[in-house]
Amino acid sequence: MNKIPLVIQREYLTRVKKPSFWILTIVVPVLLAVVYAIPIILASRPLEHAHVLVVDDTGLFQDQFRSSRDITYHGAGSIDYARRQLQQHDSLDAIIYIPARETTLPRDAYLFYRSDTPSLTVQTDAQNQLQEILRNRILLDVHGLTPDDYALLTSTHIRLRAQDIETGRDGFLQVKIVVGALLALLVFIAVFMFGSQVMRGVMEEKTSRIVEIIVCSVKPFQLMMGKVVGIGLVGLTQFALWVLLAGALVTGVQLTHADLFEQASARHSKTEIATKGSEATYQYQTEQERAAQYQAGQGIDNSLQDLIEGLTGINFAMLILLFLFYFVFGYLLYASLFAAAGSLVDNETDSQQFTLPLTIPLLLTLLLLPSMVGQPSGSLSVWLSLIPFTSPVAMLLRIPFGVPFWQVLLSMLLLLATFPLCIWAAAKVYRSAILRYGQKASWREVWHFLRSNTEARPSAHSSASHTQ
């Protein structure tokens, strides 16, 4: 009778029933989302309106401060007067004081406040306006430029948009880098997280000696594969729950912040028109839009919009499928090797000797990510995405940039051909080493296990420890 399903069931259920599984699956992503959401929510919340007195002894800034939705600037004659006002009126928040200097332009301005430090919005706004007014003054007085000239200068902005000539879609290089790097990192973490769970599971069975009882009922290979598959299913469950959770979150954001997505899709459709029509019109429109957004104070970050726009252009179904493929087979490859490593040692400290060589290929790939991002189709990237020991991380990084079909296919086939070899080798080592207690294995012995058909001898000295 095949007992693998029973082993898989135990491995799966004992892990899924643990509170730590649910904490990692649900609490962590929710926590992350909350951490990201808080600044956005706070930023979009209207601030308490601030009133600021401006005392300008230089005469350069007077009446130049522009009030906004959040802050009103009031001119005040002297610092003494303003000081009294601030002390007497609770509605006043701060004084901006620019003392006169005799020869050169002012270098310091002061923001006086009573008890509460003015908000960051007030400080930033004051700083920006001081800077801008002073610069305008110099341009105007020294170079004879008008504020309108200056406004034109500062609003001149040209964006380089990488576009596919056939589809006319934007390249969104940054978005691709982010998505690729996230996928690569996620598969790296997942393979090692679940791989080391396999190793710890094997070590648990070995150190607790329960393995001796279990191998009477199931073959060592079945036990090993049951564990590898069971823990792999835990990983897939976790991903499935994450995708569901992410879907729920995105839907939630879409429902509550519909404006973000509408703008993104509006820009998206405009891009298509622009490629057919005049670039200049498009450029003009977006500038108008941007100015309008700025005026309205919606404060939507342009890069955020780029991100959303870029994300909507990515084929997520394809990404998820490829991610699953590389996770499943990369995991099977590494987890079986981790199982073999676990069978060779009696405690976690000793395991480093065997896990370090296992981690090097993927770790190296991760370290090479920056240079691969620079040249996603360079020879380094291509080779790393073909070699089965590095392809799960390297290929997933490249996927968002677009990879020739034959390379994806070859990479997949190589991985499919290699993982059974790893399982076979791991099973040989595992079978020999799992019943050997108390001795730390050496690489020479591992080589011996791989070549031989015999099992390790039971260690004689371990029985002495139980002798009465």
Binding site: V7, E205, S208, I210, E212, I213, C216, L435, S463
Partner: protein, 235 residues
Amino acid sequence: MLTIDNISKTYGSFRALDGINLHVGQGKVFGLLGPNGAGKTTLIRIINHIIAPDSGSILFSGHPMTAEDVAQIGYLPEERGLYKKMRVGEQAVYLARLKGLDKTTAEQRLHQWFGRLEIDSWWNRRVEELSKGMQQKVQFVVTVLHNPALLILDEPFSGFDPVNADLLKREILRLKEQGTTIIFSTHNMPSAEELCDDIALIHHARVMLCGPLADIKASHQGLPLDRIFINTVQN
């Protein structure tokens, strides 16, 4: 019941078993004795099909032993343990199902056994909360749960206090009365003397002494078993 025919096993250059011949009679308690490293554990693992012999064969109930016959063995290894984080009942059911019992039968029999050994209240406790002796009781129950025809006990009394050791002894004898054949491997000569019908003394991979306990004692002028053991090993 079990005939071991000329079994040999070497690990590299180390000869663990060298032409072992033994016969374990049906319904007997067979003592497998010998110093540390004599090859007892290797022999037991070969019987359990955990490892394969280099040469020789084993007959089980008169036919060459197959992997299916292993399901009729209950093996309590000397090096034994349980999953520490799992609950007692859950774990016992799992181990029983690995032995081929279905879930309902396993639960029924477990409750019977746990009730008799007065450990039913441990069902939902984690193994790590149990003392070593308590864990041994659970392990013993798991070993015998599928009503094995052949029971192999490797140092079953180690870790037991005298009260529980006595309880275990009575359970072993009860199983013997029900017709179970028992291989009992130990260093503890008084308990071997008390329980065994036949014994074999293995030393340096060979059988040094073999036969009914009474005959062996008679041929050694009625010396206690531990004296016979020491004399044989030292000669």
